[in-house]
Amino acid sequence: MSSLSSVQQLRSSLKLQRRISVAVRLFIAVLLIIFSIFPILWVLSASLNPTGTLATQKLIPDNPGFGNYTELLNSTQFPFWTWFGNSFKIASITAVLSLGITTVAAYAFSRFRFKGRKTMLKGILLIQVFPSLLALVATFLMISQFGDVVPLLGLNTHASLILVYLGGAMGINIWLMKGFLDTIPRDIDESAMVEGANDWQIFTQLILPLLRPILVVIGLISYIGTYGEFVLARVLLKSNENYTLMVGLERFAGAQMSQRWGVFAAGALMGALPIMIIYLILQDQIVGGLTTGAVKG
């Protein structure tokens, strides 16, 4: 009798302990969430604050309105749509082309056996160790030399920037893609080959449709990376109308952040929104990709 009651006591005290522990952890979670989303809320509030300066901002603005947004979208000095369009164009072209380059190359690495194959695969991995940022000076000089011959490939052109981004297409993604291709049984290829299909037909008609899900994820990750890239774009692009959104935001912030904080906040939010949406939709795939070794760049 007495032993039973002590077990019950123990059980209820364990239950209480668990409740307290969950409550404490929830409390910590709330603090962490405040830490995480406060800057975003603060910028949201700034973008709705009609006075528009850094000094006059409160968390809940008086007379909130969309004045900063209209000012942003009508400004000539802060041509949001031009910059956003440039970013969209550059990131889309880069994502699509680099996806093409990666997929075709990964197919060759997965399906053909040739001399130097392993060396090349390892080499691709080794080259990634050197951050491309380090070769910035050389890249800048090379592009300016290109421009002396063909101005369309020189400084301050989107073509040169895209080309430089594409230089990184033969990267870690080849490994990722090759891994997926290796899991597709080769019987499919071989039976098609018996029927007289050539490599290109097998690749485009049989393999590519199977790759669609991974293509979407790799493409979007590459899009996000290019969209957020800043250093190369900053060094290679020179004129206001050619800037990407990231370069434009940085320039704007450098020039008049505290006076026109509200306009900046509106631009920052609108620029961040597409990427945030992509991330939250792809959450699970990206978490899966992270653990295989990608670091946010």
Binding site: A108, A169, F230, S258
Partner: protein
């Protein structure tokens, strides 16, 4: 690995009987590509960009090999990627290595040939040289002619690139002479009046007469026979001043006289290890560089420590399948990770703004004091670590919670039987097992932060500045942002050579760490098995 023997030979879709048309098309495209590339390379070569022209030539040869030789068939599938990688990844790395051993930079921006050409263009009036008074004529096509008269009253007709002649009126289209002995007209040319001629900017650039004894307009009243001031002696690799006889020898890309007088412009020249010597030994750079390197390591290590600790703590706290609202909490906590880093760094810059920013106003109201985030070196470093914490902890939270789930519950059950405290369980089970799986990611994160240019540059551009340095440097500068200043800031002159040398040093540090990681974690062997 598949052992099907048929896989070990290159497959041969383009059998000998392959249709002729695609091959013709391919061949045609290759000819067009080659023509365009050769034109491009030759232009680069003419402009003096030898390294780039050479690199592109090698790439072009490789492309031709791959497209023409059957045994290179698999490489055709990746040729575009390989070309782009060679051009924009490998070439810049090799070029950086080359530049690191030169003085490329302010005052040394052109090749030696170009510099010599510019110096040889300098002219002087020798004592024996003849001076003339002149009258200019211009044709409708923009060609010029001069009518020259020397002190003895001899008249000459001077045309660019032709020897002087002494035509009489009536000959060679020369019209009647006026009272001063100058022809009123020359056939095909229009006489310019003195004011128009004196203000014509083209006129002073033109060399009249034949090579060697050229005549140039020097002032509105005088044209003179000029000689090159310098002559290049390739045996001694020196410039010799024809007027004074002084020899200027080539010292590290500048022609210098024995008394230290320099001939501009300088040119790119090898300086062997001087840039590296400066990095390690220059007393003027010692102070800032020691600070920068120390902070660079401290920043990377502390960032890793803080970000990983917070991420891990959160992951452990919520590593409980029955925890309420788990999915929602995770979605909210990864928000910092979803915003492009540039935008969040700029937002933090605004929030930490002294006086005006929300954090400073809040602290000011609470304690009557707020840290000087941008002007004090200690607080600037704290701010950078704080911002980096915000940026990166969601990443560590995600990878740690993934890794935690792969640790078997059995270990903990056994530990509880042995009476281990939660603390002991953490140190002896969780951490060691976690480090095995996330270890490589930690190393990658360290090297990423070691070169985290975006954060430093965008947050405060490396400020506050270190006083009295020969090149701009700040208290929160890391090596890569210091390199950026050297190469692009321009205010005190670019120095690509020195910037590249530091880049090589960063290469070596990062490479050594990565190599160590490969060794330590046997990653290389795993990679080798997977290919």
């Amino acid at each position: 690995m598949a052992s099907n023997p048929s896989l070990n030979v290159p497959q041969k879709p383009t059998s000998p009987a392959a249709p002729i048309l695609p091959r013709l098309v391919r061949f045609g495209l290759l000819v067009v590509l080659d023509a365009a590339a050769i034109w491009f390379i030759s232009r680069l070569f003419n402009l003096g960009y030898y390294p780039l022209a050479g690199g592109l030539t090698l790439i072009l040869l490789f492309v031709n090999y791959v497209l023409l030789r059957q045994e290179a068939y698999p490489l055709r599938w990746m040729i575009i990627g390989l070309v782009l990688m060679s051009m924009f990844v490998i070439y810049p790395i090799l070029f950086t290595v080359w530049v690191a051993f030169t003085n490329y930079g302010e005052g040394h921006l052109i090749t030696k040939e170009q510099a010599i050409d510019q110096i040889l263009d300098l002219k002087y009036l020798p004592e024996s040289g003849r001076a003339f008074s002149w009258t200019a004529y211009k044709s409708p096509e923009g060609d010029y002619a001069l009518w020259l008269m020397d002190a003895e009253g001899n008249s000459y007709l001077a045309l660019p690139g032709e020897p002087l002649t002494q035509p009489q009126p009536g000959e060679a289209g020369i019209g009647e002479l006026d009272s001063k002995g100058v022809p009123a007209t020359i056939e095909g040319y229009q006489r310019l009046n003195a004011i128009v001629a004196a203000t014509d900017k083209n006129l002073t650039q033109i060399l009249f007469g034949e090579e060697g004894t050229t005549i140039q307009v020097r002032s509105p009243s005088e044209a003179a026979e000029l000689l090159s001031l310098y002559e290049y002696d390739s045996d001694r690799d020196a410039m010799i001043n024809q007027q004074t006889g002084v020899v200027y020898s080539n010292i590290r890309g500048l022609f210098s006289s024995p008394t230290g007088e320099l001939l501009r412009p300088g040119f790119i020249a090898s300086v062997q290890l001087a840039n590296f010597r400066d990095f390690f030994l220059s007393p003027a750079l010692r102070g800032p560089l020691v600070r920068i390197v120390t902070w660079n390591f401290a920043f990377a290590i502390l960032s890793l420590l803080f970000n990983f600790s917070l991420g891990l703590a959160i992951a452990i706290m919520f590593n409980d399948p029955k925890f309420p609202l788990k999915k929602l909490i995770r979605s909210l906590l990864i928000i910092p990770y979803t915003v492009p880093a540039l935008i969040t760094i700029l937002i933090w810059r605004g929030m930490l703004n002294p006086e005006l920013g929300v954090i400073d106003r809040f602290l000011e109201g609470l304690f009557g004091w707020a840290p000087p985030w941008f002007t004090d070196q200690f607080w600037a470093k704290v701010a950078i670590l704080l911002v980096n914490l915000w940026l990166s902890y969601p990443y560590f939270m995600l990878i740690c919670s993934g890794a935690l789930q792969s640790i078997s519950e059995d270990y903990y059950a056994a530990a509880q039987v042995d009476g281990a405290s939660p603390w002991q369980q953490f140190w002896n089970i969780t951490l060691p097992l976690l480090l095995v799986s996330v270890g490589p990611l930690l190393v990658a994160s360290f090297t990423f932060n070691f070169n985290n240019f975006n954060l430093i540059y965008l947050f405060n551009a490396g400020g506050p500045p270190i006083a009295g340095t020969p090149t701009p440097a700040g208290h929160t500068d890391i090596l890569i942002s210091y390199v950026y200043n050297l190469a692009f800031s321009g205010s005190r002159g670019v120095n690509y050579g020195f910037a590249s040398a530091i880049t090589i040093i960063i290469f070596i540090i990062v490479g050594a760490i990565t190599l160590f990681q490969f060794r330590y974690t046997n990653m290389w062997e795993e990679v080798s098995e997977n290919v």
